[in-house]
C-alpha cells in the first residue's frame, strides 16, 4: 500500500497570506540543499508557519523587501522528484501549477549537482518561470568541485545564481538577480530533457490519445510523461477524464511499457550529464572528504551506537541539569506566584470563580506550560542534529533495532524525544516519510516515559521501596521499553499487516549548523505549543476541573471521585483503591498531578507526612502496580492534543488512548498478581 490512496488533488483555492499584487516567489528543492536556511535568511521572523490544507506538511510563507519592492515567498516542502509518492510531492507540483508563481526558484546543492538537478529536470518541464540557485558553493569547493555558474546557465537556458546560503553579505547578488528576472532583463530559453530515444514513439502515441482531454492546469506533455512514469494521481485523473475506449488504448500502452519510468529517468540523467560535463571544471578529487572521515565512526555498527548513546546521554544530562531545575523553578515561581496573586485579587470573588482560575486555569494550563524549557531542549537538539546532517546517521545505526517493530531507523529519534516530553516526540514523527510507519510510531510514542512521569516515580519510589527505589525506577523504564517493542511488533502485525516501508535514505554531507534555522525552529514549535496550551489544553483542563468541583465544590463528593469509585472494580484488578484510581485519572491534565491528587485525597500536602501515610496505607504489590500503571497510562492532554493535530483524526486519537488504557491495565493487573504470588 502507498500513501497515494489517501491523497487527493487539493482543489481548494490557495490561501495566501502574502498581500496581493506582490510578486510571488516559491522555493523548491530536494531535502538537504539549504532551502530552508535560505528562506529563513530572506524572511527572518517575517514568516508564517502553518499546515497545507488537510495535510500535516509544514507550510512556510513570508515576505521580504529589496530596493523598496516587496516580495511574497513560499517555501515548498523538500522533495526528490515530482511523482505523487508523498504529500510533499503533490503539494509542490499542484502549488506551482495552480498558484502560478511569478518565479520558481529551484535550489540545488553545488556539492551534489548531479543528484540535485534531477528535480530541476522535472521543474523545467512544468513550464513555469524558473531560476536555479547554485547553493553551498563553499561546501562544493571543500569537496574539490569547481562549478562555472555562467556555463551552467547557458546549458540549462535558465538563470543560475551562485550562493553560499550562510553568508548574508552575498544576498545582494540574489536580490539583484531576482529583480532582473522579474523585470525581464534576464530571459530564459529552457532546454528540456527528453525521454530516452527508444521510448520516444510511445510517448508520442500516448500524447496523441490524451490530446484535448487533459484538465487544466496540467501541461499535456507533462501528463503523458507522468502516465508513463506510473504516477497514481495523474493516472486516476486521466482515467476519469478520458472516454472509455481512449483510456483502454492508453492503459494497454502503459501495461506494455511498465519500464518507461527508467527510460524517462535515464533521459533526465542524460540531460543532467550534459549540464554537469559543461559546467563542472575540476571534477571531484580523490581526497577523502570530511563526511567520509566522520562516517567511518558515525555509521559503524559498533562505534556508531556508542556515539549515539553518548549524544543521547548528553541530552539527558542537559535535561536534568538545566531543563528539570528550570521547570521546577517556573512551577514554584510562576505557577506558585500566580496562584498567590490570583488568590489575593479574587479574595472577594465567589469560591468557584477563584477555584476556576487557580485550580483550573493556573493549576491546569500553568503546569503544562512549565514543561516548555524541557521541550525547548529537545526541539533544539533535534533541530541541531537534523541541520548538521547527523539525523540520517542515527536513523542508520538504529535501523536493525527498529525492524523488530516493523519500523525503520527514522522512527528512532522521534521516539527518543519522548523521554523529555511526548509532545516534541509526536511532532518529531514528521521526519518519517511513510504514513503507516508514522502512525505506528505515533501510536507507541506515549509509552516512552517522559520527565513528568519520572517525577512521579522519583517521589513515590523512595516512599514505597526505600533503598530499592533506584532499582525499581530502572525496572519501570525497562518495562516501558519492553511494552513499547511488544506493542509495536503486535500493532504492526494486526493493524499494519506486517508491511514495512522501504528504507531508502539520502546520507547528506555534514555541514556547520545554522543558528538562525535552529532558533526559528525552536521559536515556531514553542509558539505553536503555547497556542495549543491556550486553546485545546485549556478546554480540557476546564472539563477536568469542572468534574472535580461539581456538584458542590468538595472533591471528595465530586463527579470525578464518584467516577473513580464507580470504576474501582477495574482498579481492584490492579490492586488499586478508589483513591489511587482517582489519582490516575487526574494525571490526564499533567502526569505529575498524580502526587498532588493523593495529597488532596489524604488531606495533606505532598511532603514527608504524605509519604508516611501512603507507605502505611498501601501494600507493596499495590504500590508497584500503581507505579507501573502510571508509567503506561493514557497520554496526558497536551500529548492527546498533538496526536489529534498530527493524525488529523479523532478515530486514531481515541484508538491511541484506548490502546494505552488496555496496555496499562493489563500490565498493572499482571504486575499486581505476580507481586502477590511471590509474596510482596
Amino acid at each position: 500500500m502507498s500513501d497515494c490512496h489517501s491523497m487527493s488533488v487539493p482543489t481548494q483555492p490557495v490561501t495566501l497570506r502574502v498581500r496581493e499584487r506582490m510578486p510571488l516567489l516559491v522555493l523548491a528543492g530536494q531535502p538537504n540543499v539549504g532551502k530552508s536556511t535560505l528562506f529563513n535568511f530572506l524572511t527572518g521572523l517575517n514568516q508564517h508557519v502553518g499546515n497545507w490544507p488537510g495535510k500535516t506538511v509544514e507550510r512556510r510563507e513570508g515576505n521580504f523587501s529589496f530596493n523598496g519592492n516587496e516580495y511574497g515567498i513560499v517555501d515548498l516542502p523538500g522533495t526528490y522528484s515530482l511523482t505523487a509518492n508523498s504529500p510533499e510531492e503533490v503539494i509542490t507540483r499542484e502549488f506551482i501549477l495552480r498558484a502560478r508563481p511569478d518565479l520558481v526558484i529551484a535550489v540545488v546543492n553545488a556539492a551534489n549537482l548531479e543528484r540535485s538537478l534531477y528535480l530541476v529536470a522535472e521543474l523545467i518541464s512544468l513550464s513555469a518561470p524558473l531560476a536555479v540557485i547554485l547553493n553551498m558553493m563553499d561546501v562544493a569547493k571543500g569537496e574539490g568541485i569547481h562549478i562555472e555558474p555562467e556555463v551552467l546557465e547557458a546549458a540549462l537556458g535558465v538563470p543560475v545564481i551562485p550562493m553560499t546560503a550562510t553568508h548574508a553579505s552575498r544576498m545582494q547578488n540574489f536580490y539583484q538577480a531576482v529583480q532582473d528576472i522579474l523585470e525581464g532583463r534576464r530571459v530564459s530559453t529552457p532546454r528540456l530533457p527528453e525521454i530516452r530515444a527508444d521510448h520516444g514513439a510511445i510517448l508520442e502515441e500516448i500524447l496523441h490519445h490524451i490530446q484535448g482531454y487533459v484538465p487544466t492546469p496540467y501541461p499535456e506533455n507533462w501528463v503523458a510523461l507522468k502516465l508513463l512514469e506510473g504516477d497514481t494521481e495523474i493516472t486516476r485523473t486521466m482515467q476519469s477524464n478520458l472516454p472509455a475506449e481512449k483510456w483502454e488504448a492508453v492503459y494497454t500502452l502503459l501495461r506494455q511499457h511498465d519500464d518507461a519510468l527508467l527510460a524517462i529517468a535515464s533521459g533526465r540523467y542524460e540531460w543532467i550529464g550534459r549540464m554537469v560535463r559543461a559546467a563542472v571544471v575540476h571534477p571531484r578529487l580523490g581526497q577523502i572528504s570530511l563526511t567520509k572521515q566522520l562516517d567511518r565512526w558515525a555509521v559503524h555498527p559498533f562505534w556508531g551506537l556508542v556515539i549515539l548513546a553518548g549524544i543521547l546521554g548528553l541530552v539527558f544530562w542537559l535535561t536534568f541539569t538545566v531543563g528539570t531545575p528550570v521547570q521546577g523553578w517556573l512551577d514554584a515561581q510562576i505557577v506558585g506566584g500566580l496562584t498567590g496573586v490570583a488568590n489575593q485579587l479574587l479574595a472577594a470573588a465567589p469560591f468557584w470563580i477563584r477555584s476556576l482560575i487557580v485550580d483550573g486555569v493556573i493549576g491546569g494550563v500553568g503546569s503544562v506550560v512549565t514543561f516548555l524549557p524541557i521541550m525547548i531542549i529537545f526541539f533544539g537538539v533535534f533541530g541541531l542534529l537534523e541541520d548538521m546532517g547527523y539525523m540520517a546517521r542515527a536513523a542508520f545505526v538504529m535501523d536493525n533495532f527498529m525492524h523488530m517493530m516493523g519500523l525503520h531507523g527514522k522512527s528512532f529519534l522521534p521516539l527518543f524525544l519522548g523521554f523529555g516530553c511526548n509532545v516534541p516526540s509526536i511532532l518529531g514523527t514528521r521526519v518519517i516519510d511513510s504514513k503507516p510507519a508514522r502512525f505506528l510510531t505515533i501510536l507507541i510514542a506515549p509509552l516512552v516515559p517522559c520527565t513528568a512521569r519520572m517525577a512521579v516515580v522519583a517521589f513515590l519510589a523512595p516512599v514505597f521501596f526505600g533503598s530499592k527505589a533506584l532499582l525499581v525506577s530502572w525496572g519501570l523504564i525497562l518495562l516501558s521499553m519492553v511494552a513499547l517493542v511488544l506493542s509495536g511488533a503486535l500493532l504492526n502485525k494486526l493493524i499494519f499487516k506486517g508491511q514495512r516501508s522501504a528504507f531508502i535514505m539520502e546520507m547528506p554531507l555534514y555541514h556547520v549548523p545554522n543558528s538562525r534555522t535552529i532558533g526559528l525552529l525552536i521559536w515556531q514549535r514553542s509558539l505553536s505549543f503555547l497556542k495549543k496550551a491556550g486553546t485545546t489544553i485549556l478546554a480540557m483542563a476546564m472539563v477536568i476541573w469542572a468534574l472535580s468541583m461539581l456538584p458542590n465544590g468538595d472533591l471528595n463528593q465530586s463527579y470525578l471521585v464518584q467516577f473513580g469509585k464507580w470504576v474501582e472494580p477495574i482498579g481492584r484488578w490492579m490492586g488499586l483503591d478508589w483513591r489511587l484510581t482517582v489519582a490516575l485519572i487526574t494525571s490526564f491534565p499533567a502526569k505529575e498531578n498524580a502526587v498532588a491528587t493523593l495529597g488532596v485525597l489524604f488531606g495533606s500536602s505532598p511532603d514527608a507526612a504524605l509519604a508516611q501515610t501512603l507507605a502505611s496505607t498501601f501494600s507493596t504489590a499495590s504500590a508497584l502496580s500503581f507505579l507501573v500503571v502510571t508509567m503506561l497510562f493514557i497520554p496526558c492532554m497536551a500529548t492527546v492534543a498533538v496526536i489529534r493535530q498530527e493524525t488529523n483524526s479523532w478515530g486514531w486519537t481515541l484508538l491511541n488512548i484506548a490502546l494505552l488504557l488496555v496496555i496499562s491495565i493489563a500490565a498493572g493487573a499482571g504486575v499486581y498478581h505476580l507481586a502477590l504470588a511471590i509474596g510482596l
Partner: protein, 81 residues
Amino acid sequence: MDHTNAISLTDLSVDNHGTILAFNIGTVEATRLVSLGFTPGAEVSMTQNYGRGPLIVTVRGASVALGRGEAAKIFIERSAK
C-alpha cells in the same frame, strides 16, 4: 534476467564498483530510487556493507543508505577491478 554475471547489490563488498542492470521493486520504491540517482547504467560503489543490517552506497557522487531488503532487489554487474 539475461545477464549471466548479474549479482545482487548486497553481494558487492566495500570499495568495489558495479553498474546497475535493473531493479525488481515496486513502482513507489523504484521512483524513489531513480530520484536518488539509481538508474540502469549508473555506476555504484559500496561504502559500507557488513553483511547484515542496512548498507551505504555511493551513486552519482552521493551517499544513499538502503535497507538490506531493498538492496537485494537491485541487480548489478561487478566492474573489473
